[in-house]
Amino acid sequence: MIYREAGQFRTSYAQDSRLLPLRQDRIGMAVMLVVAFAVVPFIANDYWLVAILIPWLVLSLVALGQNILMGYAGQLSLGAAGFMAAGAFACYNIILRIEGIPFIAAVLLSGLCAALIGIIFGLTSLRVRGLYLMVATLGSQFFIVWALNKIEWFTNYDPAGVITAQNIVIFGHAFTSPVEKYLVVISIVSVLTLLAKNMARGSVGRGWMAVRDMDVAAEVNGLSLLRTKLQAFAISSFYCGVGGALYTFAYLQTVEPSAFTVHLSFLILFMTLIGGLGTISGAFFGSAFILLIPIFLNVMSHRIFGDAVSASLMSALEHVIFGVMIIVFLIFEPLGLARLWQLTKERLRLWPFRH
């Protein structure tokens, strides 16, 4: 009843090829954007902005990049954190060495740097597939972090190797408060998500999906595997690089290679898997799940048990519970949270009827 399409006619090609064809979807998206831009900055407190919303948005962007590569193009990859590191250091160095460059331009340039590095490591995808490609991209993760550690030019010869990120300055105004940083992040993330959604449903995305489903058939049909795969790596690394730049500038405020460990790469992989491979909203769902459940478990365990249980045991238990939750969830819904959302929408079409 809520999701009825009856009565919504499309009378022109423009209407037919809209991003959100259903009116309910459009209203929902409009409401979400209004809440994100106009309501949240006023009602959210510092903790929610700094510790929950900003990392969720930034990691969703990176998970989106990973989803493009793994979900749409089918190239298994474990190098997300490496490309994030590349983007973060590129942004730091660009702002450091080019006087007065606008932050948005620096972020886009750093995304391009990460994309170039992604293309170089993506060349392996032309020779190997599946799990072997995953191992090769794992190599990229380690190599990039090692190179950033070793080549002191990247860290500006800082003795400790941990550099404080500069302020975000757009049109002369320094965006330093949590609300301002949140607005910068949500603007960049919403624009890039829109671009990703359009790419996914256009010929670019169809090319990726063809390569994912059967690359031999795609090649026979005239699709250039070289171009498509490298394009997927480039765009995915661009997203990861922009995400990395935002991660350091808007969240951590320190630029250091040790923040981009293989652990983070695995986390992003889990975000895409749990959120739903091959979907755009899946990146956001998965990122929320992976980020928020541990915090929720930590808060709950302190509230419920307090001093009754030893804190070391509790911390270890939180990890165990989190792992069990992931396993159970994937058993019940292997296609991820995006599929659950899709099923909910299907149910809403028929509601209040069952079938």
């Binding site: 510790a51 990392p55 003795p159 404080t164 320190t254 250091e256 930590n298 509230r303 911390s315």
Partner: protein, 456 residues
């Protein structure tokens, strides 16, 4: 379907429980003081975290059980940071204010990258970044970071002290000329921290410095120790982290045949757990002590009697780790907080009341343990060297114990020794801090307005 009904009932139950838990009392109490504790209880460094934060929490419990700070009771909340900078930021924001709306006074995260992640926020949030012997070294120069303290030592004074010990063992600073000292370090910011000071002292004294990194987590050190053997290194400063890395170091060094008594471990990688991990191979290794380990410190005895006697110790019923290096460091760190609280209460006329972040900072900046009476008041005579914090010097102390592991416990070889040239280190810290302040357009405070204070 049955499973649907079950799920719906479960969801309703969780929602009700959540609603009940959310309705916590929100009354602010004037005679309580809140601290946030960013612990590390999982991961490769959990040995350090569980010891250090157990010491802090046990001491806070002890203070509460002996009447609080002039009647003010202490409350605290823990958050697991897993030695991860992002989680530390989240913990910092979450623990900033407790349920009753009181803001925390100090933040003491374990680890250099964690400290760097919040160092830019503490001034605005009015929280003291109270690092006890680690963290950002050039924060020892107070005018640049008024809210950051590193009592009572930092890594540059530590490495200078180690080099002085080596010079003493060789027969004088002039005998160090031509010798080779290798710095084996974990390849992170923490491991690289002492290098700037080491390089300058190497140039001044004329010895060769070999910098040999070990990739984290450092469980594979064959090639590094073979290189040490090959290059005929005279002394090794081992800068590792985690019992796994330390244990590997001992066994690899023994297998390569390098003598144990030419290796000096660092404070945060040279506790009992790090030596026990090496087994018999660790015998004879030197380590630097930031505080004195042992159960015979009067305060530790008191904690055992009062806190563990009542069954409220952080280690439960197992007191073997009480009095170890990490535990005693935690106790000493917490003593600094309480002394700062007392000073602030006394100075601002708030005896028996809660203090604000700015007052706590003032108290911390006037810590003075140079008098024996003050040390005896807390029962920490012998635990820490006499030290004093001033506006210029947020470090104080600058003295360490040199200890040697005899297979079962540490024996103190040198009592409260400092670097050969403390002014050089102070100068380096000042230069580094001022350079950073200039590059980042930070204001540098003027210390001439700092007024000294003393207990009457």
């Amino acid at each position: 379907m049955a499973i649907n009904k079950l799920l719906r009932q479960a969801a309703a139950g969780v929602a009700m429980a959540g609603a009940m838990l959310a309705a916590l009392p929100a009354t602010a109490s004037a005679d309580e003081q809140y601290f946030g504790i960013p612990s590390i209880r999982v991961g490769p460094y959990n040995v350090m975290g569980t010891g250090y934060y157990a010491g802090e929490i046990d001491y806070l419990n002890y203070v509460n059980m002996t009447g609080g700070v002039n009647g003010v009771m202490l409350t605290w909340q823990e958050c697991e940071t897993e030695y991860n900078a992002a989680k530390n930021v989240e913990c910092y924001q979450r623990l900033m204010t407790n349920d009753k709306g009181q803001k925390m006074l100090a933040w003491d995260p374990y680890g250099t990258p964690l400290a760097y992640a919040v160092i830019g926020r503490v001034e605005k949030d009015q929280v003291v970044l109270a690092q006890a012997g680690f963290g950002r070294t050039d924060a020892a120069y107070g005018p640049v970071w008024p809210w950051v303290f590193g009592v009572h030592s930092n890594y540059w004074t530590q490495i200078a002290m180690k080099l002085k010990f080596m010079a003493d063992m060789e027969g004088g600073v002039d005998k160090m000329k031509g010798k080779t000292v290798a710095h084996l370090y974990i390849d992170t910011a923490y491991g690289r921290e002492p290098l700037p000071a080491m390089r300058i002292i190497a140039k001044n004294w004329g010895f060769t410095l070999l910098e040999i990194p070990i990739a984290a987590p450092g469980l594979e050190q064959q090639s590094q120790w073979r290189r040490v053997r090959r290059e005929n290194v005279d002394w090794v400063t081992f800068w590792g982290a985690g019992a796994g890395m330390s244990g590997t170091a001992h066994t690899t060094r023994a297998s390569v045949g390098f003598p144990a008594d030419r290796v000096i471990f660092v404070t945060f990688g040279g506790a009992e757990e790090d030596m026990i991990a090496g087994g018999d191979a660790a015998k004879g290794t030197y380590a630097v002590g930031h505080v004195r380990p042992g159960k015979d410190v009067p305060l530790v005895q008191e904690i055992l009697k009062v806190v563990y006697g009542a069954g409220k110790g952080n280690f439960g019923s197992d007191t073997t780790r009480v009095g170890t290096m990490y535990y005693n460091r935690g106790v000493a760190a917490a003593v600094n907080w309480i002394e700062a609280m007392r000073i602030a209460q006394e100075k601002f006329g708030k005896v028996g009341k809660a203090i604000t972040g700015e007052e706590f900072r003032w108290g911390y900046e006037h810590l003075d343990f140079t008098s024996k009476t003050r040390r005896d008041f807390y029962g920490i005579e012998g635990l820490i060297p006499p030290f004093k914090v001033t506006c210029d010097d947020h470090e104080g102390g600058e003295k360490f114990l040199m200890m040697q592991w005899n297979g079962e416990k540490y024996e103190i070889v040198r009592d409260w020794m400092g670097p050969d040239d403390p002014e050089l280190i102070d100068q380096l810290e000042k230069e580094s801090a001022l350079k950073y302040a200039q590059e980042n357009n930070m204001p540098v405070r003027d210390c001439k307005d700092w007024e000294p204070w003393a207990w009457k």
